[in-house]
């Protein structure tokens, strides 16, 4: 009785643990909550932002030549100003009721914050990259240039008089005043961050590894945050002492575009051209990655939040407090997930133990398992892995193929049953049908390839006299498998290169210029170029299997045949070929299975192009499973390909069973 109570307590306890971990898990998965829309809608592509705290007015400088002011309270447009170029940088001077706006149209506009009226402007006759204004509003510094080899740092007084003109033969894209307004801090495309006097005299200099693309004030201590073109960042203070640096481990192919920080200088945010925002904590670790969909061009710290915008009509806010909660939770995410999965199992088990009748059954079952425990224990790792990495995915593939599961319908609550819609889509969308047509070509030629050359080679090597020669030939024919398939595909890409590809070069040498083609760029030749890849098609696996078949033929059969005066070809036709039929069938089945799934070659050489001329179903599945994020559809494609393969395998089995 006491034991029973213990089981009940255990059951309730794990019910609670399940509840808590399930909740925490769902918090972790609802990452979209971190970001909320601020409601500032420009209707065009944004670029940069500024905010006047005293008047609660929010400014957006857009990529489409507009400067727009919003009421912070109602999110409604207050006024709008048109420039002739992208607005690069906005600086607010609340006391003077002045907004300084640097634009690509060569002007720095002095705008009245309340009315939007342009009070005055400075025309520098060069494209403006960055501006800054001293705290008292008496001086303006402008980074501007006409080309990569002609750049100026210009200092103007507030009434538009040029004070200094420092000329450079390289780009100095970033500029700002030191806290006291006495010196400038500039950053250039040589990776140097330089503190200088306003006339250009260098005071101190530090280096980054790559061109500095953006530099912004950071934190509360008057520090500066600079970003190199590789996404690396550096925090320096007024005297250019390096506070910290780092290079975030970004997704391959990402191009860093913008950088910003939060108010307290605890986090650094890096935005990329691809639309990803990386959030880095002060230990240099990426604690969060978010996808904004469009290139991210600007950050603005706003109290506990950071506003994010980019080349799209969005201004999102990120809650730093939520972020910290999430970051601290995510350290335990694996534990939480583990508990969510395993606590229900404990609950069920303890429930079984708590009920007397099931308890007895369970004990009997337990005794049986205990008796054969060695076998079961030894199989735990095997089946543990299979469950998580094979059985669960298989069940998911078959069930999710009938749902609208996608990047946008990801949470369990959003996934809906859609019947055969995904399967119908294959026939209406077109890619799949094009893919099938190409697949048919590849399968037929694939069969021809493995039925000819490897068989011939195996027969040749088998017929050669001398064990040593045989071994050497076998070794050499199999040796090319050491070239990784990716390398081999890329080599063929090189061979097909229109200009310096071996194929066109050879045709040129032979005086057959008229035969030269852009092999992979031509819709007519591309698929055949992919099929021809791997010439002369000495498939090592098929070769070895055929060879194995030949060697297992009883030598007495030949003797008998030779006695009867059979010719070599007759021996092949009447004895050898029929006896290697099992190998042949196996090779055909394996080839079919391999070819239907494979899209390495197509992916590497043409990505399905030009147009859709080299699409195969596998490639379509890959694109849907990754880039497009249409997971349900990808699962459906997988199911169809599985059915193809299963039917083919069964036919192969049936054929060999009939023979035997």
């Amino acid at each position: 009785m006491r034991r029973q109570k213990l089981w009940i307590v255990l059951c309730v306890l794990f019910c609670l643990i399940f509840g808590v971990s399930f909740y925490l898990n769902s918090v972790l998965n609802q990452s979209s909550k971190l970001f909320s829309d601020t409601g500032y809608k420009t209707g065009v592509k944004n670029n940069t932002m500024a905010y006047d705290e005293n008047r609660d007015i929010f400014f957006v400088g857009t990529y489409d030549n507009k400067l727009i002011a919003f009421s912070g309270e109602t999110k409604e447009k207050l006024w709008e100003m048109d420039g002739k170029g992208v607005f690069r940088k906005l600086i607010v001077h609340s006391e003077d009721n002045m907004l300084y706006a640097g634009s690509d149209d060569n002007h720095v506009y002095f705008v009245n914050i309340e009315t939007g009226e342009v009070v005055s402007d400075i025309n520098v006759q060069r494209r403006i990259y960055d501006i800054d204004v001293t705290a008292d509003g008496s001086e303006v510094v402008i980074s501007a240039g006409v080309s990569t080899a002609k750049h100026n740092i210009l200092v103007y007084s507030s009434d538009g008089e040029q004070l200094h003109n420092n000329k450079y033969t390289f780009q100095v894209k970033c500029v700002c005043y030191t806290a006291d307004g006495s010196n400038l801090i500039t950053a250039n495309n040589r990776g140097e961050i330089i503190r200088m006097e306003t006339d250009g005299t260098e005071v101190k200099k530090v280096r980054m590894d790559y061109e500095v693309l953006m530099m912004v004030p950071y934190g509360t201590q008057g520090e500066y945050l600079a970003m190199g073109s590789d996404g690396s960042y550096m925090v320096v203070d007024d005297d250019l002492n390096i506070i910290r640096t780092g290079t975030p481990d970004m997704m391959s192919g990402s191009v860093a575009l913008s950088i910003g920080g939060d108010q307290d200088g605890e986090h650094i945010l890096i935005g990329t051209k691809q639309g990803t925002v990386y959030i880095i904590d002060n230990s240099g670790r990426i604690i969060y990655t978010a996808d904004m969909g469009t290139s991210v061009s600007g950050f603005l710290p706003m109290g506990d939040e950071v506003y994010i915008t980019g080349y799209g009509d969005f201004v999102m806010s990120l809650d730093i407090a939520d972020l910290d909660l999430m970051a601290s939770l995510s350290g335990y995410s694996t534990l939480i997930y583990f508990l969510t999965v395993f606590s229900p199992i404990v609950v069920i088990l303890s429930l079984i133990m708590a009920i007397p009748r099931t308890n007895r059954l369970a004990k009997r079952f337990g005794k049986m398992v205990y008796r054969y425990r060695t076998a079961y224990i030894l199989l735990i790792p095997t089946f543990g892995l299979l469950i998580f990495f094979n059985y669960v995915p298989i069940v998911m593939a078959f069930t999710r193929a009938f749902t609208n599961w996608s990047k946008f319908n990801y949470a369990a609550a959003d996934i809906e049953f859609v019947g055969f819609d995904n399967f119908k889509m294959m026939f209406t969308e077109g890619y799949f049908l094009t893919g099938l047509e190409n697949l048919l070509k590849i399968v037929v030629t694939g069969f021809l390839k493995v039925l000819t050359v490897p068989l011939l080679i195996a027969w040749l090597v088998y017929s050669v006299k001398g064990d040593r020669t045989k071994y050497i030939l076998r070794f050499l024919f199999v040796l090319p498998i050491v070239v990784p398939s990716v390398v081999s595909a890329l080599l063929w890409m090189q061979i097909y290169d229109p200009n310096i590809g071996a194929l066109n070069q050879l045709l040129g040498k032979l005086g057959l210029e008229s035969w030269q083609r852009v092999w992979l760029g031509n819709e007519k030749t591309a698929i055949w170029a992919i099929i021809f890849m791997g010439f002369p098609f000495v498939n090592a696996l098929a070769f070895l299997l055929y060879y194995g078949g030949f060697t297992s033929i009883d030598a007495e059969l030949y003797e008998a045949a030779r006695m009867d005066g059979a010719k070599r070809f007759d021996i092949f036709k009447k004895i050898q070929f029929p006896l290697i039929l099992p190998q042949l069938r196996l090779i055909l089945t394996l080839t079919f299975i391999g070819v239907v799934q494979d899209f390495n070659g197509v992916y590497l050489l043409t990505q399905g192009g030009p147009g859709t001329s080299t699409y195969v179903p596998g490639l379509e599945l890959y694109f849907n499973a990754t880039t497009f994020g249409r997971y349900g559809y990808a699962c459906a494609l997988g199911v169809v390909m599985f059915l193809f393969i299963m039917v083919a395998t069964l036919i192969g089995r049936r054929a060999s069973a009939a023979k035997n």
Partner: protein, 290 residues
């Protein structure tokens, strides 16, 4: 009469020998022609890897002069971190596959327990399931499992699938081991684990070696899965990295790109030199039928 018959016999033999010699020459010539063609891409790779861009554009087919060993310097410096990643991951995965295959093969070959047939069918059925079916769910599941962009995302799915093939091979081979051997060991008080480690494994070394070599080549060659499962270049393995470097505009320096190809080929080349006999015999012996 008798004399002429003997002479005739010798003549026939000579004729046969002559014909045989001719035949041998012909098949050797054909074999060598095919060998040469099969090696053309490899020749091109080696040729390009030792040339500068100017030499390649100038005259494609001439031998490099001067030989640009610096291509290898550039390629190896760029790729060495990823090569180390690859070797580490492939080594761990192969070792784990071998252990799981030996254990699983032994359990299904030599132990008796309730549910054995059902469990074995569950494994056998996986041979029918193509990798492409589970690609989409697995890509999403590794994020749920919180192993996305870690080496576990490569190792665990690899060994999970790889052990299936290994268990089937090991089971076939271990079933042929005499049962008496294990019975007497058990009577002597030898535990099952001990029997596995000191009897079954040593006797199945050849088949285990075959599993190791084949799986190593498989894992090393994998491209699509690492491309999906690993996001950061620092953790990426070499096959994908080569593609990334090639498509990121480094293709403009063809020589060092080809040198990278050669570099990526070296580990498998070394492996193959030492294990070619195992690999070839594993496939020809008929262990892989049906």
């Amino acid at each position: 009469m008798g004399k002429t018959k003997v002479v005739e016999g010798i003549e026939i033999k000579k004729k046969v020998n002559k014909r045989e010699l001719g035949f041998q020459t012909i098949i050797m010539v054909i074999a060598i022609v095919f060998l040469f063609m099969a090696f053309i891409p490899i020749f091109i790779m080696l040729l390009l890897s030792l040339k500068s861009n100017a030499q390649i554009y100038g005259d494609f087919f001439t031998l490099p002069h001067p030989v640009m060993w610096s291509n290898f310097n550039i390629a190896v410096t760029k790729l060495i971190p990823n090569m180390i990643n690859t070797l580490t991951v492939v080594f761990i995965a192969t070792a784990m596959t071998a252990v799981l295959s030996a254990v699983g093969g032994y359990v299904f070959a030599k132990l008796r327990f309730p549910g054995k047939n059902v469990l074995f069918m569950l494994i056998l059925a996986l041979m029918m399931v193509p990798g492409i079916l589970t690609l989409t769910p697995l890509y999403n599941l590794i994020q749920t499992y919180h192993i996305y962009n870690t080496w576990w995302a490569l190792i665990l799915p690899w060994i999970s699938g790889g052990q299936v093939f290994g268990i089937l091979l090991c089971r076939t081979s271990m079933e042929e081991l005499p049962t008496d051997l294990f019975e007497s060991a058990r009577i002597d008080g030898c535990s099952e684990l001990r029997a596995l480690v000191s009897i079954a494994v040593p006797l199945s070394k050849p088949i285990l070696a075959t599993v190791v070599v084949m799986k190593m080549i498989d894992y090393y060659n994998d491209f699509i899965w690492p491309l999906i499962a690993i996001e950061s270049n620092k953790k990426q393995i070499i096959t994908v990295m080569i593609r990334i470097l090639q498509s990121n505009g480094n293709a403009t320096d063809i020589g060092s790109m080809a040198a990278g190809f050669v570099f990526a080929t070296i580990p498998l080349f070394i492996l193959f030199i030492f294990t070619s006999r195992l690999y070839m015999e594993g496939l020809t012996s008929g262990a892989l039928k049906g």
